[in-house]
């Protein structure tokens, strides 16, 4: 480790880039949320109107809450499914580690649109599940609730974002020394107690990272609700996009976006606070 000013030179290209093309645009979007739209265009002013307008119609709070709920359910399912997988890859099936992680990485980095589309072919009216159920003879008529419902959205979102929870949880489990676990066992703790007192708290940073990733990305997803959600599965991404495309009300779109982010940040902090209250973290 050197103690020179050289790190400034090394950091400056990325941070200059981020400042111009990331932080500045986000700031401009924030400024826009206080502007007004008139028939002639955008009017620079300072008004809370756009934020208040969110609550003027029932539609917007309902859609925002639904998006947050779908994001939350997705994140919880992702964590609950990922933990056993990451756990067994770390402690039980080490030989399978490389192979399974490979499959997860392939899923994570292969075409996002195609993976969402795949669920449309599976859940659709003439989709594979309906065909299979008909073939076995369980149903006569295809089940219509499979596609175009919030359930379809959650099934697809979990599929898309589960790598985002498996990888951080796996990575935090990797850092746990087997000595701690053996020590707990030697001191008389049973499997359940060892898990609750040692393994789980030490792996909590990974759980939290994974939860945040899947929660935020799922709540803000645009493609999945469009493709498999139907009218029942309408989410905030579509509403925001409409303001920038269809209705051309950028200030209101910005306000919606910032309000949703604000809500997500509050909920994430609540989640972290709860894990701390339950003494799940060291």
């Amino acid at each position: 480790m050197k103690k020179q000013k050289q790190h400034i030179y090394l950091l400056s290209p990325l941070f200059t880039y981020f400042t111009i093309f990331f932080f500045a645009p986000l700031f401009i979007l924030f400024i826009y949320s206080f502007w007004r739209t008139t028939s002639t265009g955008l009017v620079p002013t300072f008004t809370m109107h756009n934020y208040l307008y969110i609550f003027s119609k029932k539609l917007y709070p309902i859609i925002i809450l639904k998006s947050v709920r779908i994001g939350f359910i997705t994140a919880v399912i992702c964590v609950l499914l990922s933990y056993p997988v990451a756990y067994s890859l770390t402690f039980k099936y080490r030989r399978m580690q490389d192979f399974v992680l490979y499959l997860i990485l392939i899923s994570l980095f292969s075409s996002y649109l195609v993976r969402v589309y795949a669920w449309k072919t599976i859940l659709g009216h003439n989709g594979l599940i309906n065909q299979l159920l008909k073939y076995i003879g369980i149903i006569d008529e295809p089940l219509s609730f499979l596609l175009y419902s919030p359930t379809a959205v959650v099934i697809t979102l979990v599929f898309i974002f589960i790598p985002f929870t498996i990888l951080p949880i796996f990575s935090s489990l990797q850092n746990i020394s087997v000595d701690y676990i053996e020590a707990a066992r030697d001191l008389g703790a049973n499997t359940a107690k060892t898990f609750y007192k040692i393994t789980l708290p030490l792996s909590m940073p990974g759980v939290i990272t994974g939860f945040i990733f899947s929660f935020v990305l799922a709540a803000g997803d645009y493609v999945t609700p469009q493709m498999v959600g139907g009218t029942e599965g309408l989410m905030i991404g579509r509403i925001v996009q409409d303001q920038f495309g269809l209705t051309y009300n950028w200030p209101f779109g910005s306000a919606l976006a910032y309000f949703t982010i604000f809500l997500l940040v509050v909920l994430i902090n609540l989640f972290i606070w709860i894990t701390r209250m339950l003494k799940l973290r060291r």
Partner: protein, 264 residues
């Protein structure tokens, strides 16, 4: 494996198998139906054919979009890896104030829903009067590709033995000679891995691109157009080709830079 010595088939095994099936089946189904002779995804399959692939490869829009995506991907990966590696050198080799804040700030673009990045960039480009083109697409992709380049380079540079560089310097090599003949060859695999991964991410990106695309389309934009128009028999074959390209890239990335060592 003294902690888990029960080898009976139980809850963990069932969950593992279900999750792996859940992750793999949809991808498998897409690939399978791209060879189906009829256009609908019906079991049992009517027969095997490669005609849809021929149709895709003769499609001008597809080929133009493929070319654009490759161009964007190359530019994005080069910029991301250069600035990402520099950042990683700073984060792994220097001690400075606010280091945790800095290393967190690097990752912010990938924790933000893409739609928000999309509308923010749209507002920004229209405010300063830059018209939308492949250049704006390149600019935007670097924002979420550079963090991944930093992560890959971090995982290599954290375990880097600086004494080999010091030895080179002691033996009279200049700074640039040391970098060229000692440091660079040692980090080359990670650089190749980072180039491939950032290319793969850029090649696949849809939502941010959707807001700031100009007249020239990238491949995901073309695919989205097809998906919205409904089920077309060529979708599965385009999807398979895109899948195979991303999968091949990931297999290569993993050879050069072990992706499982990434620390989020």
């Amino acid at each position: 494996m003294s902690i888990m010595n029960r080898s009976k088939f139980g809850f963990l095994e069932v969950i593992n198998i279900l999750v792996i099936l859940y992750l793999m089946l949809p991808i498998f189904i897409i690939i399978l139906f791209s060879f189906n002779t009829t256009s609908a995804a019906m079991f049992p399959m009517a027969g095997l054919t490669t005609k849809w692939y021929g149709e895709v490869l003769r499609n001008r829009n597809f080929l133009a979009a493929l070319k654009n995506s490759v161009l964007v991907g190359i530019a994005v990966s080069l910029i991301s890896v250069v600035i990402g590696s520099m950042t990683s050198f700073a984060l792994t080799r220097y001690r400075f104030k606010m280091k945790t804040v800095v290393s967190f700030a690097v990752l912010i673009p990938i924790t933000l829903p893409p739609i928000i990045l999309g509308i923010a960039l749209l507002s920004f480009f229209s405010l300063i009067g830059i018209s939308r083109s492949l250049a704006t697409v390149i600019i935007s992709h670097v924002l979420f590709c550079a963090p991944f380049a930093v992560l890959i380079m971090n995982s290599r540079l954290e375990g880097f033995d600086i004494s080999v560089e010091e030895a080179a310097r002691d033996l009279g090599a200049s700074r640039s000679q040391t970098f060229r003949y000692v440091t660079f060859p040692l980090i080359r695999p990670s650089i190749i891995g980072a180039l491939m991964l950032t290319f793969a991410i850029s090649f696949d990106e849809f939502l941010v691109t959707f807001f700031i695309i100009g007249k020239k389309n990238t491949l995901p934009i073309i695919i989205w157009g097809m998906l919205r128009r409904g089920v077309s028999p060529v979708i599965n074959s385009i999807a398979t080709m895109v899948l195979v390209i991303s999968m091949a890239l990931i297999v290569i990335v993993n050879r050069y830079a072990k992706l499982k060592t990434l620390r989020f």
